[in-house]
Amino acid sequence: MSSSHPITPISTYLITWISLFILTGFTVYVASQDFGAMNTPVALTVAVIKATLVVWFFMGLRYNTPLIKVTAVAGFLWLMIMFGITMSDYISRPWLGVPGR
C-alpha cells in the first residue's frame, strides 16, 4: 500500500477548511447585495470552487489515477448534458411565435 497514496499534510486540510469557510461567507455576502443578473452565476461559481476544493483536497483526487479523475468529471459532464439539452427545449419554445408553443 505504500506505493499508492501519499499522506496529505494536516496544514493542507486546515487551509482547505478555512478557504471553504471564507468562500461560504463570501457567497452569503454576495447574495445579500443585489448584482441583478450576476447573482446566480456568482453563487454557482463559488459553489463550484468549493466543490472542487473538497474533491481535490479532502477526497484526495489529486493523488488518484487519471481514470478516477475522468470518472469524477464524467458525472458532472453528464449532468450538464441533461441540463443543457432539456433547457434548450424550454428556452426555445417561445421562438416559434405560435400561440401556446
Binding site: I7, T24, T27, G75
Partner: protein, 256 residues
C-alpha cells in the same frame, strides 16, 4: 496498446510476457502465486492490496457518479421551475432561514475536515486519531440533522409543507401553487440529502467499530477512505443546495 494497464503483479516482468509462447494458459504460474500479498485483508480475487484499494476507490467514485445523476434529476426540476416561476422562487427562498442554513453549511465543512483527518489517521496508524475524528464527524453530522429538524418544524408551523395544509404567505396567494412546487422540491431535495446523511452516520458508526478494534493502519484503510469519499460527496451536495435554496434574492434579514 502493448502495455497492460493493470499494475503488473510483482514477479511478472515484460520479459516473461514477451517470451511466453503459451496460448492463453500455462505460463510459468508458480512465480505468480508466490508473489501474492500475505495481508489477511486481501480478498482472494485480488492479487495485491494496491489493486484492491484502487478497485474500491474506483468503485466508490462510480457509485458517486450515480449519486450525482440521482440528485441531478432533482436539480433539473429545480432549474426548469425556477426558469418558469422566478418570482415564486425568490419569495419562497425568503421563507428559509439563512442563518440556520449557513450554520449547517459550516457544520458540514468541518465534518469534511474531520473525515479527512480520520482517513489520515488511518493512513498513519493513529488509532486515537481515527476514533476522535470519526466520532467528531458523526457528532457534526448529527448536529446537521438536528438543525434540519428545527427548520422542518418551523415549516410545519408556518403552513409551508406542500399538501392539503399548505398556505401561501400573506399577499402571495396568486403564486401560492408555484411556491408550493418550490417547497415540494425543497423538502424532497433536503429530505433525500438528509437520508444520505443518516446513511453516512451509520456508515461511520460501522467504520468506528472497526477502527476501535484496531483494524486499520497503513497496511489497510480501504473502508475509511471509501467511507470518506461518500461523506465528502454528501457535503458537496449541500454546498450546491445551500445557495440555490436559501440565497435567492436574499437582501438583508433572514426569513422565518
Amino acid at each position: 496498446m502493448a502495455k497492460p494497464s493493470t499494475p503488473l503483479r510483482p514477479g511478472l516482468d515484460e520479459k516473461t510476457l514477451a517470451h511466453s509462447h503459451a496460448a492463453s494458459m500455462g505460463a510459468p504460474a508458480h512465480a505468480l502465486h508466490s508473489a501474492h500479498d500475505e495481508n489477511p485483508n486481501l480478498q482472494h480475487h485480488f492479487f495485491s492490496m494496491d489493486q484492491q484499494l484502487e478497485a474500491s476507490i474506483l468503485g466508490m467514485w462510480v457509485f458517486l457518479v450515480t449519486e450525482v445523476m440521482f440528485f441531478g434529476g432533482l436539480f433539473m426540476a429545480y432549474i426548469v421551475y425556477r426558469t418558469m416561476y422566478p418570482t415564486a422562487w425568490v419569495e419562497s427562498s425568503h421563507e428559509l432561514n439563512v442563518i440556520l442554513g449557513g450554520i449547517n453549511t459550516g457544520v458540514l465543512i468541518v465534518s469534511s475536515f474531520t473525515m479527512a483527518m480520520a482517513v489520515r489517521s488511518a493512513q498513519t496508524g493513529s488509532r486515537n486519531g481515527q476514533i476522535f475524528n470519526l466520532i467528531g464527524t458523526m457528532i457534526l453530522g448529527s448536529t446537521f440533522l438536528v438543525i434540519k429538524y428545527f427548520e422542518y418544524a418551523a415549516k410545519f408551523t408556518h403552513h409551508l409543507v406542500p399538501g392539503p395544509h399548505f398556505q401561501a404567505p400573506a399577499g402571495m396567494e396568486a403564486i401560492g401553487n408555484q411556491m408550493q412546487i418550490f417547497f415540494a422540491l425543497y423538502f424532497i431535495m433536503t429530505g433525500i440529502h438528509a437520508a444520505h446523511m443518516v446513511i453516512g452516520i451509520v456508515l461511520m458508526a460501522v467504520i468506528l467499530v472497526m477502527a476501535w478494534r484496531g483494524k486499520f493502519g497503513p497496511h489497510y484503510y480501504t473502508p475509511v477512505e471509501v467511507g470518506g469519499l461518500y461523506w465528502h460527496f454528501v457535503d458537496i451536495v449541500w454546498i450546491f443546495l445551500f445557495p440555490l435554496l436559501y440565497l435567492l434574492g436574499f437582501h438583508g434579514g433572514p426569513g422565518a
